[in-house]
């Protein structure tokens, strides 16, 4: 199975700080890279997604940076808030079937007040 490696496993950030989560993928055929946010007891929710024809995508405080040559992408959360405390999953797959994307193992983010 194609791997998606996510780091760090857990992250603690002070309120107002920048949270950075990194992912690396193997399959060069992948062209869909979403990030999901999951709160305890809830299903994941799509935060933001990017295709490899752009190097960066920003939505509010959330930014995806994409490095096609390195096969890496990252999520930056600017001005992190306690309400951002959740588990974040990156994923990689094909635009022809987003639901078949391979997920990373997740990063538990804690934002301290």
């Amino acid at each position: 199975q194609q791997q998606v490696k996510q780091s760090p496993q857990s992250l603690i950030v002070q309120k107002g700080g920048i949270s950075i989560i990194n992912c690396a993928y193997e399959n060069t055929a992948f062209d869909y890279f979403p990030w999901y946010q999951q709160f305890p007891g809830k299903g994941p929710a799509l935060l933001i997604a990017i295709r490899p024809d752009v190097s960066e995508k920003k939505e509010g405080r959330f930014t995806i940076s994409f490095n096609k040559s390195a096969k890496q992408f990252s999520l930056h959360i600017m001005d992190s808030q306690p309400g951002d405390s959740a588990t974040y999953f990156c994923a990689a797959g094909k635009t022809t079937n987003a639901g078949k994307s391979t997920f990373g193992d997740g990063t538990t983010l804690t934002v301290k007040p």
Binding site: D31, Y32, G43, A45, F89, N97, A98, K100, G104
Partner: protein
């Protein structure tokens, strides 16, 4: 307003006793997915329906089956649950399969096997 609804929220079953989990959607989406998520792990796709077409993942055990009687409902049947099947089971939908087709997840059913 919940758009992907999973019932029950918690399910306890006995080892080897068949169990059915249900998912309904109010979005009229073509695609429905079932994922298994074990504690502190990533969701793992079990299978999905594209309309009436069933697509099984290669590594999904035969113990897991699914039914989609109509557009709105999809069921996950575990024929003989083992202790290793204890997990959160997530249902998700999307209008279609392309890039712009956002996945909508339900809140999941937490399955315990005694």
């Amino acid at each position: 307003d919940a758009m992907v609804i999973q019932n029950p929220r918690y399910q306890v079953t006995q080892f080897g006793k068949p169990v059915t989990l249900s998912c309904s959607q109010t979005l009229n989406h073509n695609v429905m997915y079932w994922y298994q998520q074990k504690s502190s792990q990533a969701p793992k796709l079990l299978f999905h329906y594209y309309d009436k077409d069933f697509n099984n993942e290669a590594d999904t055990p035969d113990n897991f089956q699914s039914r989609r009687p109509n557009t709105s409902f999809c069921f996950l049947d575990i024929r003989s649950p083992g202790l290793g099947d204890a997990a959160m089971y997530l249902c998700a939908t999307s209008r279609d399969k392309g890039f712009n087709e956002k996945l909508f997840f339900g809140s999941g059913t937490q399955l315990s096997v005694l």
